[in-house]
Amino acid sequence: MPSLKDLRNRIASVKATQKITKAMQMVAAAKLRRAQSAAEAARPYAERMETVLANLASGVTGSSAPRLIAGTGSDKVHLLLVCTAERGLCGAFNSSIARLARDKANALKADGKTVKIICVGKKGYDILRRQFASEIIEFIDLREFKQVGFVNAEAIAQNVLLRFENGEFDVATLFFSRFRSVIAQIPTAQRIIPAEIPEGTKQTDAVYDYEPEESEILETLLPRNLTVQILRALLENAASEQGARMSAMDSATRNAGEMIKKQTTLYNRSRQAMITKELIEIISGAEAL
């Protein structure tokens, strides 16, 4: 049986924790609003880009197609680009992305393929490093950037493109968490090289005029598309992270509240028991006289 002082201390410390989780939840809620609008604002561009690309890509086929669409012709070496958060305390956000990437990596290895991993974000690196220490070729830290933007995405895209041109891998897959709502974030794997042309996005059968040449446009458009897809992943991730943190901190606050209630009841009961005990002692003492 814990003493009254122990119980008081315990209640005080849970109260302090609850204050912290409550504050974190409110901070996450404020940040979420901004991150969500950034993610939503980035969607139209990425979607239009996909449509234009689908229209363009349907025109080029065969050996003339750029390697970013057609691939290198083999699929021996896979690059996994795993985007996670820089900070923890956001529920299963980081671990669910890492799990998806880990499953994929294991499946590829079982097929006899070579796997290379680039980690964007510290948390994913921390998780994956335990199992795939030798496969991780790079770790990109975005901790110093308060708000990820186009520049960050472009730097990552350049890095990936350079490796692709050097023939370091054949297929690249991007892992991130798609933001559906505050309570639903969907870990997603998206193939970025060779570019995944979504079915059914082709709107018109119209014959386009190209200015300059079709191939030239594609050449500038494809690296661009890579940047845009990575940017979208980063922005979706940022929103998902805040959403996940918000709901995790909300349930933490609620749990703390429950615990305080239980401990307070326990505290009051033992306080009463103590008083009763003392009274009995006094009365029986008086009777004995």
Partner: protein, 137 residues
């Protein structure tokens, strides 16, 4: 006047979306005006001003730097690499862009990339010149 649907999208946000009469686009091979019923076209853009005519009297101007325009029967879309409202652009902004382009040019490795960046740089400098003259007038 016949109108058509036009959208100007930058990676960060939608700058303009609505029915318009015409739009003047700074395509890489010269400025061009798109009216309703224009033939389907895809063209790359250079640094310059997009002029959107919303009604007979009114127009809006935007600064874009690179990107592409897609015209089809239903609508016209500009995917700008960078886009701003013209009110947000001044010489300092352009100087910053030029500096950024120079830094990237210095840091690039592949030949194609270098050529592309050098083009961008020239376009930006050209545009800055035009912009200054326009403001002086």
């Amino acid at each position: 006047m016949a109108t058509f649907k036009f959208e100007l999208v930058s990676p960060e946000r939608i700058l303009f979306s609505g029915e318009i009469i015409s739009v003047i686009v700074p395509s890489a091979e010269g400025e061009m005006t798109v009216l309703a019923g224009h033939a389907p076209l895809v063209a790359t853009l250079k640094a310059g001003i997009v002029f959107v005519q919303t009604t007979d009297q009114n127009g809006k101007e935007f600064f874009v730097n690179g990107g592409l325009v897609e015209v089809n029967h239903a609508s016209t879309t500009i995917l700008a690499e960078q886009g701003r409202f013209i009110e947000d652009v001044d010489t300092a902004v352009l100087d910053a862009e030029i500096l950024a382009a120079e830094t990237r040019l210095a840091g690039s490795h592949s030949e194609d990339e270098k050529k592309r960046l050098a083009d961008t740089l020239v376009q930006l400098q050209e545009f800055k010149h035009v912009f200054e003259q326009r403001n002086a007038a």
